[in-house]
Symmetry: C2
Subunit: 339 residues, 2 copies
């Protein structure tokens, strides 16, 4: 019986103003919902915490509906089928889906997708072989369009999207400069991932000048994960016909002061540059193409990925909040159950 | 003999800081340069003053080389051939070109283009049938891509580019809202040009709220001629997948305080919108297509244009400076010689 499992879930208790705190969330013990025909029960192994989820905690108009108050938070999860009343999935199958932040999800079988743990560890489906990889792939290649020899700058470079963006740009023959928040991250980017240069924005006295030295020919593509003053510095160095895929603006997600800085319109006009926000759902039809290419690069050893793993369901809020401190190298995951 | 004409030219005497003044320019009497084989002497009839020229008066990096100090300023000019040593042009021909701000230009015949004054008055080649028309045409249709029923907002709407943008958007079936700087201009836009609404930014207490009322379904295309706080207000109302052709940022051209405002990255991400600077030279290969369509619409009565004419070569600096006061309705021109 499903309800013999002890389930636990995380609700959004109140909408955060500025930086979220533990008080905005509530852990709740509940029975597992009984499984109906066509459904499966999925035991959570890994749970993805992502900066974009901060947006869903507010009720402002956005591309994605806000989380409802006092309802379970939803995010990327990989897990294992522990009960099945659908022919398409068997107990033991590993699956991925956008599911509730809880120990067990009882859902329609078609809301999850079976994954192959012989290709890569299942956690990889929450990063390089999942939304993270596709975000880097389409944002960089479709909007950024880096050409051989061009200079690509990526902010949040040691995050899960950023480090893939830099590596894909290298595959395409670009010169890649990463911006990250510690010397350790910067060393990792240049020594392990082959970035041409990496700048620690926290210790660099004058980011614009350092960037200018790292990109003496200017910036052709800026993949922006952070926004704010870091982006102000990069924007000042754009070359003609630069392309700026806007993936995130983590520096402003918790801002309560209006996020003010130099207007960029004049620079965009002078350089005839294009800046474009995107979300992955715009590329739903091309998901297969992206996953296939990412899988190929991964198997060829051309792409590396990193995970920062926090153990324990009870630490999910802490893991989410750490995203805004930048403590993670690569994908931030919560391991709920060790297989 | 060429040098029997009394020529006069305008030099850039010093680079303006902030708003230019008469002191940044110098009028100089010089002989007309003798005409060589392959050259013509063109007598200036109309001279175009344009906001983009402010950029060339600075020496900052841009898409177009700065004016040299103590050399003649160059701009769009229509005039008449008064001497010819080239078979392609005869005395009396009307021509257009990027020529010096002077009474007579002695230039290679291939640097000017013959225009047909039976189609439209020659001054029209400096607006609707010239760079202004093409800027509106390509910026709106290629970058803005307005669809039937969408909401198009244009700033600087009573300027030469803006009023064509609004009319072309109407031809394409969009709902058009203009932003301009006087009630007289706003009345002209709605009553004469068929704009659906027009807002006087100088007297509207809360531009954002008024825009929201004028665009209850949000903004799909924003053709930006002005930048600054007007654009801040429009950007806050973008719909998903909005397109923002950046044509000009006249509000910041004379700014010396850094042009600071709300950062737009988060809004662009939430709405997956695209903002793109452009200059007409990017569309050089398609110029014929644009001029043909503009000519057709003009002859069909679907496009109207306006000119604000300042008489006298000695008033060219004043006419240029008036652009930044917004005194012009439609294209600002200086009439140097009445044909």
């Amino acid at each position: 019986m499903s309800n013999t499992y002890a389930n636990k879930q995380v609700l959004l208790a109140s909408r955060p103003v500025g930086m979220p705190t533990e008080q905005n969330f509530e852990f709740k013990d509940i029975p597992v919902e009984p499984v109906q025909s066509g459904q499966v029960v999925v035991r959570t192994h890994y749970l993805s915490v992502d900066p974009y989820m901060r947006g869903r905690m507010s009720d402002a108009k956005s591309y994605i509906t806000p989380f409802a108050l006092n309802e379970v938070i939803a995010g990327g999860i990989v897990g294992e089928v522990v009960e099945s009343k659908d022919d398409s999935l068997s107990v033991g199958d590993k699956v991925i889906g956008m599911l509730g932040w809880q120990l067990y999800n009882t859902v329609d079988a078609k809301l999850v997708r079976k994954i192959d743990d012989s290709i890569a560890p299942i956690s990889a489906y929450l990063s390089v072989l999942g939304l993270t990889g596709l975000t880097a792939y389409f944002g960089l290649l479709d909007i950024g369009q880096p050409q051989e020899g061009e200079a690509v700058v990526v902010s949040g470079a040691a995050g899960s999207v950023g480090m893939l963006v830099g590596q894909i740009a290298k595959i395409k023959g670009a010169r890649v400069v990463g911006i990250a928040g510690s010397d350790e991250k910067c060393n990792y980017l240049t020594k392990e991932l082959g970035f041409d240069a990496a700048l620690n924005y926290k210790t660099t006295k004058d980011l614009r000048t350092s960037l200018e030295q790292a990109c003496p020919q200017g910036v052709d593509v800026y993949f922006d994960n952070v926004g704010g003053s870091i982006s102000d510095a990069v924007m000042s160095l754009l070359n003609d016909h630069a392309r700026i895929p806007l993936c995130g603006a983590i520096s402003s997600y918790n801002s309560t002061d209006g996020d003010v800085g130099p207007r960029i319109q004049s620079k965009l006009i002078k350089t005839r540059s294009r800046i474009q926000g995107f979300v992955l759902s715009d590329y739903a039809a091309r998901q297969g193409e992206g996953l296939q290419q990412l899988g190929t690069w991964l198997s060829e050893g051309k792409l590396k990925y990193e995970e920062t793993i926090v153990d324990g369901f009870e630490n999910v809020i802490d893991a989410f909040l750490q995203l805004f401190q930048g403590t993670n190298l690569g994908k931030m995951l919560v391991r709920v159950h060790k297989a």
